[in-house]
């Protein structure tokens, strides 16, 4: 409650929240706004915005850009959130293990994390997606697979910080069992920064997905923003609207999530919000 009230008083955080809600709503009511599939060729190719009912114009095949943007919101959010969760799952487990047990385990896991951070994430993503052929699942897993290291490091840092906090040791001395200590004391105190970073990972995940489908490595059955820009890129002189609007959609969504996430971190724990950024 306290934090909620604090958040409501956080201006940029609220702007983010509102924008985000708008995007979410659009994603949800897309089928109501646009009953026909965004793939359906409803108008003439390259219909400029506003003409025959296509207020954001039509693409090379005469498909409704507006519909594409609306349905794209679903894809972007889905992939963004799913892969952020995937990243969190991996990151928290790895980070928790190496943070709590330390020693050799820690060494090995952290070396692995560094390795994953060393290889340029996007290049690695391209490689993975192309290797296992683009589909919703592979894309989500891939983005998860290249996004977890920061979360692992954060979780580890939090665990290291909390591991020897007096209240944890006190719990130990009071005879509480390890799993209870981890789940009951350490995790609850570590979770808020993790959630914050995860929420920000959603944003980067969306950017990553758009870049992938822009490079033609998206799921060909999903109308995603990156795909639309990719399709619009070559015709940018004939139909600027094809790449401008989806791009704006990405910008707004990512911006919203970032604002929201930072608002969250300011409210939840200033310490981390300073470390990040």
């Amino acid at each position: 409650m306290e934090t909620v009230r604090a958040f409501l008083r956080h201006p940029s955080g609220m702007i983010g929240l509102v924008l985000l809600l708008i995007v979410v709503v659009v994603a949800i009511i897309a089928p109501i706004m646009f009953p026909v599939s965004p793939w359906e060729m409803v108008g003439a190719p390259f219909t400029p915005p506003g003409e025959d009912g296509l207020w954001l114009g039509g693409d090379t095949l005469g498909r409704d850009v507006a519909a594409g943007v609306a349905y794209g919101a679903r894809v972007s959010l889905l992939i963004g959130i799913a892969s952020a969760l995937a990243a969190m799952a991996i990151g928290v487990v790895v980070g928790a293990i190496s943070g709590y047990f330390g020693g050799k385990v820690d060494l090995v896991l952290m070396r692995m994390t560094e390795l994953f951070q060393t290889i340029p994430a996007f290049v690695l993503a391209i490689l993975l997606v192309a290797t296992f052929n683009p589909s919703l699942l592979t894309i989500i897993l891939t983005i998860g697979a290249v996004s977890w290291p920061p979360l692992a490091r954060l979780t580890r840092a939090e665990f290291l910080r909390l591991r020897h906090r007096e209240f944890v040791e006190a719990a130990q001395c009071q005879g509480e069992r390890t799993w209870r200590i981890v789940l009951g004391h350490i995790l609850p105190n570590a979770i808020s920064p993790i959630l914050v970073v995860t929420s920000l990972t959603v944003a980067t995940a969306i950017l990553l997905e758009s870049a992938l489908s822009f490079m033609g490595l998206g799921d060909p059955n999903l109308m995603s923003w990156g795909f639309m820009i990719g399709a619009g890129r070559t015709v940018i002189r004939n139909a600027w609207w094809m790449s401008v609007f989806p791009g704006l959609a990405i910008l707004v969504t990512v911006l919203a999530i970032n604002l929201f996430g930072e608002g969250l971190s300011d409210v939840l724990n200033p310490r981390v919000s300073r470390r990040r950024s």
Binding site: W39, T60, L61, N133, G216, L217, P220, N221, T234, N238
Partner: protein
């Protein structure tokens, strides 16, 4: 037409004045032609690699014995005349005198024999097919080459252009590992232009070959091929005059209209007659429901190919009626026509028992999108919508060239799109897709869909060894009727690639291989 007349005709060809080339006075020497090469070719030696970009560029560097006009009739290349024996077994070529390679060494009949019989059969799959029919090849004197065929093969005369049989220097390649020969980087040929520099990822710079054997040719001083991977950038380059010539898919189809309108530019779809790119929706005949003729016919009905041509190819394509392109000889328009009709399609599907399920879906089919260009992606999306109308889910599967080549080559696919060249004669470019003997696992551009019909096999084989044109026409008409009825693949379009160039340049398109041609006669007015 009897044997004697036939021979006369052939000789006549030899004497014929090269078609289309304006020999009128006033060609000016000099000038630079800037154009586009896309994607960047791996090598320039057309004998080693036959991708379109390699051929376009290599065509200027390597020559063949013959050229072919728009009707694919032979005209002199490095051979100034030729003769075919009445029994169609002996082919004799007389070379122009004074032909030299870019390294100054003379080009003799020895090089021709070496290229055709030793190097090409190693490195050039198409050439291997053709020259495997040769019993013996001799070079009685430096300017004469004689081929003896095992059995008559009418299209053989059509196998000597610079893309099918480029002549390479024996003194460089003989006894070496052709593919790894260090000289490959130098690209030594006899063509009117020679390689000056190749800045990879940027441009290829060709300059005049001064020792060229034809008087005055080449007229141009240099040709610069620029590597521009981004389509929009290519279009811009043509528009603002950075380049003065584009070919094949250099500019995307949606831009073509724009350039037709641009005053300083000339537009033509000529110059592709030899290749006549023929495109179809390929269905794996081995698996249900594609193994049912009625299903395949339904597919022909449910794709609105007019709209397909308009939306995806922006009108730069003609609806295909069957296996043979209207631009290829022995084409026969009198075949069963499949008009666009969702109802007919549904009827056929119902008839074969492929009825809509509870969710209104009849079937789900995986469609592998060929990764070659954007229009393939659009095409896939178009097909998916078409199939949706009859309740069939077409699931697009993205992949890379490797994945596509492997899946299709190994018959591990349900549907995909394919495009083949017709190579001027059904025996060369069409038969390979339908004859049972060419069902070869692991090999691309063979009879990958696995269609097999003994009658079709027989007709194709007979047509190949028949010399009389009228007779061949009969056989091919028959084949076309059978195939169009069976629909081994759903023919969609005859793609009409454009050639767009600056009006200042002349003789850009003079033959049936268009922009692959040597460009010796191209000049800037």
């Amino acid at each position: 037409m009897n044997r004697r007349e036939f021979t006369k005709a052939m000789l006549a060809c030899g004497a014929a004045i090269p078609f289309g080339i304006t020999r009128a006075a006033g060609q000016t020497r000099g000038g630079t032609l800037n154009t586009i090469i896309q994607p960047e070719p791996p090598v320039l030696v057309t004998a080693l690699n036959q991708q379109q970009p390699t051929l376009t560029l290599g065509g200027k560097i390597y020559e063949g014995l013959l050229k072919y006009d728009a009707d694919l009739k032979p005209m002199p290349g490095m051979a100034q005349s030729w003769e075919v024996s009445p029994d169609g077994l002996t082919y004799t070529f007389k070379l122009f005198p004074g032909i030299t390679f870019h390294d100054g060494k003379p080009m003799t009949s020895e090089d021709v024999v070496f290229s055709c019989m030793k190097l090409l059969v190693e490195t050039h799959p198409r050439a291997r097919q053709n020259f495997s029919r040769v019993a013996s090849a001799e070079a009685p004197d430096p300017l004469t080459v004689v081929f003896e065929l095992k059995q008559p093969f009418a299209p053989f005369i059509g196998c000597f252009d610079c893309t099918s049989a480029p002549i390479v220097p024996k003194h460089i390649y003989d006894g070496t590992d052709y593919r790894k020969n260090p000289e490959n980087d130098k690209a030594i040929g006899t063509g009117p232009f020679k390689l000056k520099e190749w800045v990879r990822g940027s441009h290829v710079h060709l300059v005049r070959h001064d020792g060229y054997y034809l008087k005055d040719e080449p007229y141009l001083d240099e040709i610069v091929y620029r590597v521009i991977p981004d389509a929009a950038s290519r279009a811009l380059a043509l528009e603002n005059g950075t380049v003065q010539l584009v070919q094949w898919s250099d500019v995307e189809f949606y831009d073509v209209q724009r350039f037709k309108a641009q005053k300083n530019l000339e537009f033509t779809t000529k110059g592709y007659e030899y290749f006549a790119p023929h495109q179809w929706l390929e269905m794996n005949n081995r698996i249900a429901p594609m193994n049912d003729k009625r299903f395949r016919q339904a597919v022909m009905h449910l794709i609105d190919r007019e709209a397909f041509s308009k939306r995806v190819y922006f009108g730069n394509a003609k609806v295909a009626t069957g296996p043979i392109s209207s631009k290829t000889r022995f084409y026969d328009p009198n075949v069963k026509r499949y008009e666009f009709s969702v109802d007919k399609a549904k009827a056929l599907l119902d008839d074969m028992g492929l009825k809509p399920g509870a969710n209104g879906k009849r079937a789900e089919i995986k469609y592998i999108v060929p990764p070659y260009s954007e229009s393939y992606q659009r095409a896939g999306e178009f097909f998916r919508q078409s199939f949706a109308r009859v309740g069939i889910d077409l699931v697009l599967v993205g992949t890379d060239m490797a994945g596509w080549a492997e899946k299709v080559g190994n018959w591990d696919y349900e549907m995909t799109q394919n495009l083949l060249y017709q190579l001027g004669d059904p025996a060369l470019g069409v038969a390979r897709t339908y004859i049972s003997s060419n069902i070869k696992k692991g090999i691309l551009f063979s009879n990958t869909q696995g269609y097999s019909n003994p009658e079709v096999d027989k007709l194709f084989d007979e047509a190949a060894i028949t010399l009389d044109a009228a007779k061949r026409q009969e056989l091919y008409s028959k084949v076309q009727q059978i195939l169009v009825e069976d629909v081994p693949v759903a023919w969609t379009l005859e793609i009409e690639y454009p050639i767009i160039y600056d009006k200042a340049f002349r003789n850009i398109v003079t033959t049936g291989i268009g922009s692959h041609e040597t460009f010796g006669s191209v000049y800037k007015s």
